[in-house]
């Protein structure tokens, strides 16, 4: 056994077989464990070699708290109620606005009074609300057919001007000014429309509609709804509830609408659309 001399020399068959078989077993297990097993993911795409090795080592980016999946950053609107914005809207030129508004008549009706349920009446609407919706359409924050293209053709000053024009029209929606919230409309009201509009539903976190949209109170950027097209109101509520419309800055409309049943949306829209809010007030 002359060849049996060197225990660590590779011309001796024992260490040669030992080292090669050990290396082979390790290589086989490493390839299986790190590349084959590492690349297969349940319910996910097959990983590349480098990603598979990293994952098998337990150092992938999707472990650790810092790597928790983040939804993409999304802002509901570009408009913020800064004094610069508000003064630009306030300086809107109604005369130039009337010229711009010629673009609107085909859908929103002559002089801004809509004859179809798809389109809202613009005459009498608050200029601030019109300005914001036009900017949202322009920025793609709100989507509706032709409106995105039309808004993109307008400048910010055009939006302020056309807002000033429609706000000055008296033939459409009643102005916010001069209306007072009437007492006596409580949570115990039987009519669900009156209950929701004037008291909301605190148990579901639903505030009264009138707190922002009138009658009686008004929040910046919220349009008045009295005598608005009921089908339009109802569709907007549904769009907010289902997340198709997402341009409410504080997510208030998405939160509220998601709490309403389709039946409730229908009666609220009907209540505002036929101007019943005013009628109700006068009945008392």
């Amino acid at each position: 056994m002359a060849r049996d001399r060197g225990l660590f020399k590779l011309d001796n068959p024992w260490p040669r077989i030992a080292w090669w078989s050990t290396a082979g077993l390790l290589a086989m297990s490493l390839i299986l464990g790190f590349i084959v097993l590492g690349s297969e993911q349940q319910n996910g795409p097959t990983l590349g070699t480098w990603a598979a090795i990293c994952r098998a080592l337990g150092v992938t980016a999707d472990i650790g708290p810092a790597g928790a999946p983040q939804p993409p950053l999304r802002t509901p609107s570009r408009v913020a109620w800064t004094s610069a914005t508000l003064s630009q809207i306030a300086s809107g030129d109604a005369e130039h606005g009337a010229f711009v508004a010629l673009n609107c008549t085909a859908c929103h009706g002559e002089k801004g009074v809509s004859q179809a349920g798809l389109y809202p009446t613009l005459a009498g609407m608050d200029g601030i609300a019109i300005y914001k919706q036009l900017d949202d359409f322009r920025a793609g924050k709100r989507s509706w057919g032709a409106m995105n293209a039309i808004a993109q053709a307008l400048s910010a000053q055009d939006s302020a001007d056309v807002g000033a024009y429609f706000a000055s029209r008296t033939n459409g929606l009643p102005l916010f000014v001069g209306e007072r919230f009437q007492a006596g409309h409580t949570l115990r009201e039987d009519n669900p429309a009156i209950r929701l509009v004037f008291a909301g539903d605190p148990a579901r976190g639903v505030p009264p509609c009138a707190a922002c949209h009138g009658p009686g109170d008004h929040k910046l950027g919220a349009p008045q709804l009295k005598t608005q097209q009921p089908a339009y109101i109802e569709r907007q509520l549904a769009a907010f509830a289902q997340g198709f419309r997402q341009n409410d800055i504080s997510e208030q409309m998405r939160t509220i609408a998601a709490q309403l049943t389709p039946q409730e949306m229908h009666v609220i829209a009907g209540f505002y659309g036929i101007g019943a809010a005013g009628a109700q007030i006068t009945r008392r």
């Binding site: 225990l7 660590f8 024992w14 297990s29 490493l30 097993l37 098998a56 337990g58």
Partner: protein
């Protein structure tokens, strides 16, 4: 063998002295978990008992038994006095002190952390120190085995080391490698925290280090049984060993394949990626190679003996074997238990299948079959073989010894088969109390009660063992035959150097360990630290006051 007699005997008596009370505790634990009324019905006592049972069985019984067996083998197989008996006695005393420290601390209720002492559970420093001394003291034995083998080789150049000595040295080296994980964990993580030198404890690193120990220790427990398979069984059956080379290869493969596999105990651990879990799970399957080699080799040896005794036909040799000989009976029973336990182990080590039974009674059942069954039943047979040689006093009755082996065999099956089923039904392990009024738990009641019966049978068998050994001690000294090891069919006159020593295999093992454990352990030092506050189990006064 003069100077090794009292050495081996003292080790054996400590081993079996710890064994009987540990079986008693085990039987009580079965009762405690069952719907039957148990004395001292207290969860705190249960966990202290489990810790004591595990420590006594896994560390005390096995380490002392292997050390005693090692000294006996060194003296008998090399045919000359042991070198370093003084060191051996010092090691014995250190191990004994460690045992007493650990046992007293657990009995005082200050260390109910189970024998695996997983951090962040924190016991009294005395327990860790005891375990550290017990394991550390046995390293003296490891060194003595290596010293005795190399000295013999130097004095007998070119001659093959006797298989028994080769095997016990493999066992010692295996134990040194295995113990390194627990010793580093004890010295580097647990003791500094227990002494109050640090506030936090790196639990993930602790688990990983312990996994180095946790699987190889099982092979350390099994090795005396395998040594008996190869060197004592054929002789007791009146035949010859089928192959000496197969024996050497088996022990070399056990040394290499039992170590880089411990992470299959961590398959559910969140701190490790899937890669090294798979690699070590894959390597675990290679342990089947030496196991199957042994089953083949021992069956062949027994067939040689059976045919020599007049057995004819395909299976006639089985009936011709001397089944009234405890060693022969034990190997038959042991292989049955090893087979059943081994198939259960295939489930445990499979990366995917493990999740079905992880942390259930199935696991407890598995390691009781392998250790309590296959290994310990061979410890009994070795004791029956060795005792007359050491004391010069033969067993009073081999029949009684065979009865004891049968009782232990059936007791282990009655205990562990229902345990396996309960585990598949989802019964968790390491639980003190089950509420059997819950329908899901109530389904396991009959199984658990069956296990209690098995536990009682085991207790009877363990008591019988002590009775048999004491009866032998009280008997008259007669002239006994010296211990003879099985001769191979082709006795080796010269073996390759690779099969006559461990230098090459230690180098291979070192390389494999660096590949398989380098990153899993290293990551805690350069990528992440998982230090967490420790959970003291030493201050339970408030809790027990509420009860």
């Amino acid at each position: 063998m003069q100077n090794s007699r009292s050495l081996a005997l003292c080790h054996y008596w400590v081993a079996f002295g710890a064994f009987l009370p540990a079986v008693l505790l085990g039987a009580w634990q079965m009762l405690m978990r069952s719907p039957l009324p148990a004395p001292l019905d207290d969860p705190d006592a249960y966990y202290a008992s489990v810790t004591l049972h595990g420590t006594a069985m896994a560390y005390v019984l096995t380490t002392f038994f292997a050390m005693g067996f090692g000294y006996a083998i060194t003296a008998t197989s090399l045919g000359r006095p042991i070198r370093g008996t003084v060191a051996a006695w010092i090691g014995f005393v250190i191990c004994l002190i460690g045992t007493v420290m650990a046992v007293v601390t657990v009995l005082a209720g200050k260390a109910s952390v189970l024998y695996t002492f997983y951090p962040p559970l924190l016991a009294s420093a005395w327990y860790y120190l005891g375990a550290f001394l017990l394991i550390g003291g046995s390293m003296i034995w490891v060194v003595l085995m290596v010293v005795n083998m190399t000295a013999w080789k130097r004095d007998n150049p070119g001659r093959p080391v006797p298989l028994a000595m080769f095997a016990i040295t493999a066992t010692a080296l295996l134990w040194a490698w295995a113990a390194s994980g627990a010793e580093i964990e004890l010295g580097g993580i647990l003791l500094p925290r227990a002494f109050g030198w640090s506030d936090l404890i790196d639990a993930a690193l602790g688990r990983t280090l312990f996994s180095v120990t946790l699987h190889a220790i099982v092979y350390f427990w099994l090795m005396p049984a395998y040594i008996a398979f190869y060197t004592l069984v054929a002789e007791a059956a009146g035949g010859r060993l089928y192959s000496d080379t197969m024996g050497r290869l088996t022990f070399i493969m056990f040394l290499i394949f039992s170590l880089p596999v411990g992470m299959h105990h961590l398959l559910a651990d969140p701190e490790h990626g899937s890669g090294f879990k798979f690699v070590q799970s894959f390597l675990t399957f290679l342990v089947a190679l030496p196991t199957l080699l042994t089953v083949f080799s021992i069956s062949a040896s027994l067939e040689i003996a059976g045919r020599h005794r007049g057995g004819r036909g395909l299976l006639g040799w089985i009936g011709a074997l001397p089944w009234t000989e405890p060693m022969v009976l034990a190997v038959g029973l042991s292989l049955v238990l090893l087979g059943l336990g081994g198939f259960g182990g295939l489930i445990n080590m499979s990366y995917a299948m493990n999740s079905m039974i992880h942390n259930t009674s199935w696991v407890t059942a598995h390691f009781h079959l392998i250790f309590g069954g296959a290994a310990v039943i061979m410890y009994f047979a070795i004791a029956y073989e060795m005792w007359p040689r050491i004391t010069g006093k033969p067993l009073r009755s081999k029949r009684l010894a065979c009865w004891q082996l049968w009782l232990w065999f059936w007791g282990m099956l009655i205990t562990t088969i229902p345990w396996h089923i309960a585990g598949l039904m989802g019964q968790p392990r390491r639980i003190a109390i089950f509420d059997y009024s819950i329908p899901l738990v109530a389904r396991t009641a009959a199984l658990v009660i069956t296990s209690v019966i098995g536990g009682l049978v085991l207790l009877v068998a363990a008591t019988l063992l002590i009775i048999i050994l004491v009866r032998s001690h009280l008997g008259e000294r007669v002239l006994t035959q010296p211990l003879r090891y099985a001769l191979a069919v082709n006795p080796p006159h010269q073996v390759p150097v690779a099969l006559n020593g461990f230098a090459l295999w230690n180098a291979v093992l070192l390389a494999v360990m660096v590949v398989t454990y380098g990153y899993p352990i290293g990551q805690f030092f350069f990528l992440k630290s998982h230090s967490v506050p420790a959970v003291q189990v030493t201050t339970q006064e408030a809790a027990s006051g509420v009860r």
